[in-house]
């Protein structure tokens, strides 16, 4: 392995790289604490916009809708996505497996506009009133495949003799799943849930197509307000969103890291005898 040193060149590229990625976000966070009403003029530190936000019913309602849609759709998508992952990794030889794999992965590459439009057409065709329910259904259908991908990659390295052992010891297939399989693939399932939740949280396109009156999500609300001019309140809302997403990402990373550390320790122990 080549040794890895912090040369001047490395430091400069790193600074530029991070600046490119995070400077806009940092600016947004800083301006959310701006006392001035003008978005681009610094008028001293203040938390006034967070207080203002608290009184902005419209934004708060939208945030509440988004949170509910995110929680429900991520949970349902995780259940369905995990089931699909298990079916795809366990039953290697059922007819239509290739077709199903393709269909599960298609939403990953499908343009959101098309997904949104087709869902809208479906809801119109079956005469379903657009609103909270339809947004939630739409989010389930487009986040499910992400869960499947994450869980399936974990199942590939799963030692199936553990399930054989559980059944051999008298556990029914259901007990085996809940007491052996699920606890072991849980980090992947949790990561899938967090991914689905984050995707649902910041979706604008599909929500715009599938929602109706009374179920405006936060991204939609922000987008429509920004068209009338950026207010510092928007900055405050976005800062809170960034905080939530950051916590999620950090938690997922820590979960993963803990698993890697344990794996490394296992390997060391196994090598040591």
């Amino acid at each position: 392995m080549t040794s890895w040193r912090l040369t001047k060149f490395n430091v400069v590229s790193m600074v530029f790289g991070f600046a490119f990625l995070y400077l806009p976000i940092l600016l947004l966070v800083v301006y959310s604490f701006n006392a001035s009403r003008l978005v681009t003029v610094w008028g001293g530190f203040s938390t006034v916009w967070y207080r203002e936000l608290w009184n902005n019913r419209g934004l708060l309602d939208a945030a509440w809708v988004t949170l509910k849609v995110g929680l429900i759709s991520a949970s349902v998508a995780t259940i369905l996505g995990t089931m699909a992952a298990i079916a795809l990794s366990r039953y290697k030889r059922f007819s239509g497996r290739t077709l199903m794999t393709g269909m599960v992965y298609a939403p990953l590459v499908m343009p959101e506009v098309i997904t949104g439009l087709s869902l809208l057409l479906l809801f119109v065709a079956i005469d379903l009133d657009r609103g909270f329910l339809t947004v939630t259904l739409a989010h389930i259908s487009f986040t499910m495949c992400f869960v499947t991908v994450v869980v399936q990659s974990r199942l590939m390295s799963f030692d199936r003799s553990l399930e054989d052992a559980a059944m051999d010891l008298g556990a029914t297939p259901t007990v085996t799943f809940f007491q052996v399989t699920l606890p072991l693939i849980w980090p992947a399932v949790a990561a899938g849930w967090m991914l689905a939740f984050t995707l649902s949280l910041d979706d604008l396109v599909i929500a715009s197509f599938t929602t109706g009156p009374g179920a405006t999500t936060l991204p939609m609300k922000i987008y429509s307000q920004v068209r009338l001019g950026v207010t510092p309140e928007i900055n405050a809302v976005c800062t809170i969103l960034i905080a939530i997403v950051s916590v999620g990402v950090v938690a997922a990373t820590l979960l993963n890291k803990r698993r890697l550390v344990r794996q490394a320790r296992d390997e060391r122990l196994a090598a040591g005898g």
């Binding site: 003799s161 054989d164 052992a165 010891l169 008298g170 606890p183």
Partner: protein, 387 residues
């Protein structure tokens, strides 16, 4: 067939355990019966029309190279695979419609398959909980089996905090905890190093003797099978070639394959030149005549092979007396400690292997590479095989 003749002719080659030979008892009812069992995976026949009886309390070994169908047979008994045709009967009950979680058998897996998210204690208690056993009884039983495998102090540890040998014991304890009627062992010692394997072998044999549970082991290691089993089934290509005690398998193999698979062997191929009673003269394909005793009837002109274990030959630097004296050059010497193995290139171009026990420290032989050597074997030292 040959096995039956051999076991009749060689009464001394019985079970290691005195007075334990239910397979010789006509009235004994087999505990496990495979009846014409076939298993196909796609076009591949893993197990081919196989029938086998195993008796209660037996330590039975399925021995064969990888891919011979031995693991498939074990997995069918555990219920993880269903036979394509044929029947498996355990303790009088047809196993066909019984799922793995309702069979009175437990398995110790080759990878151990310990649940990594549970402590040693919880791993062992897992099967007992499924039975709905009371809490107090569970902890009592867990303690009991941990004592059996000498791991009392490790109950709270997790599998990743144990060494390979300790994990093997936990796996064994877990599979014994439910007191199964039959314990299945899939390469139980495969993952251990040589020294630990030898120690564990004896412990496993002791354990089986204490518990009187029927053990069925799958292994590719002939030494492991010989040390542990009451009877061994030698398998190849989904079929059983011979079922017999370790001593019979070694001293009275029924075919060249079995003779060659288990231990070292010299095989003389040839045709019967003359046969009077059990005295047979074989003209080997290398152009030599050997005089041997045959346990099976043969006729002149019949193609036979004579199999001879290396330790049944005598070797010397001086000319030897007696029947079947062969002469040649020392081609190779391998010193193993307790025995020394010689490869002698005979004057007719063929090679024989001779093993000599190093009974004294000095070693009685002054033979070295390229010396002339004399080799001799008695008429009943080997075995005439017709297949």
């Amino acid at each position: 067939m040959a096995a039956k003749i051999a076991s009749g002719a060689m009464k001394s080659l019985g079970s290691i355990r005195r007075d334990f030979a239910p397979w010789l008892d006509q009235a004994a009812v087999p505990f496990i019966r495979f009846e014409a069992v076939t298993k196909r995976f796609g076009g591949f026949e893993a197990v081919d029309d196989l029938s086998l009886s195993i008796y209660e309390g037996e330590f039975f070994a399925l021995l064969g190279a990888s891919g011979c169908g031995k693991s498939t047979l074990l997995r069918m008994l555990a219920g993880f695979e269903a036979p394509t045709s044929g029947r498996i009967v355990l303790d009088g009950e047809d196993m066909a419609d019984i799922p793995p979680y309702r069979r009175p058998v437990n398995m110790m897996f080759q990878s151990y398959a310990l649940f990594p998210h549970m402590s040693v204690e919880k791993n062992i208690a897992f099967g007992l909980k499924q039975e709905g056993m009371a809490k107090g009884d569970i902890s009592e039983r867990v303690e009991q089996v941990l004592k059996l495998v000498k791991l009392e102090d490790f109950a709270k540890r997790r599998p990743d905090q144990l060494s390979g040998g300790q994990r093997q014991r936990v796996a064994l304890a877990r599979s014994l905890a439910k007191r199964p009627k039959v314990l299945l062992l899939d390469e139980p010692l495969g993952a251990l190093d040589k020294k630990l394997r030898e120690e564990t072998q004896f412990e496993l044999a002791d354990l089986q003797y204490q518990l009187h549970t029927t053990f069925i082991m799958v292994t590719h290691d002939q030494e492991e099978a010989m040390t542990l089993a009451d009877r061994i089934a030698v398998m190849d290509k989904g079929r059983i070639l011979q079922v017999a005690t370790p001593a019979e398998i070694y001293e009275a193999p029924n075919s060249r394959f079995v003779a060659d698979f288990v231990g070292n062997v010299n095989i003389f191929e040839g045709k019967v030149a003359a046969a009077t009673g059990d005295r047979v003269t074989i003209a080997t394909s290398a152009g030599r005549k050997i005089h041997v005793a045959s346990e099976v009837p043969v006729v002149a002109g019949q193609a036979v092979s004579y199999v001879l274990r290396p330790e049944k030959l005598r070797i010397s630097a001086e000319p030897l007396s007696g029947p079947n004296v062969l002469e040649g050059e020392v081609w190779d010497i391998a010193y193993f400690g307790p025995v020394t193995s010689f490869h002698i290139r005979l004057d007719d171009g063929s090679t024989v292997k001779v093993a000599m026990v190093n009974a004294t420290r000095q070693g009685p032989l002054q033979l070295t590479w390229h010396d002339r050597a004399f080799v001799q074997f008695d008429e009943d030292a080997g075995l005439v095989l017709t297949q």
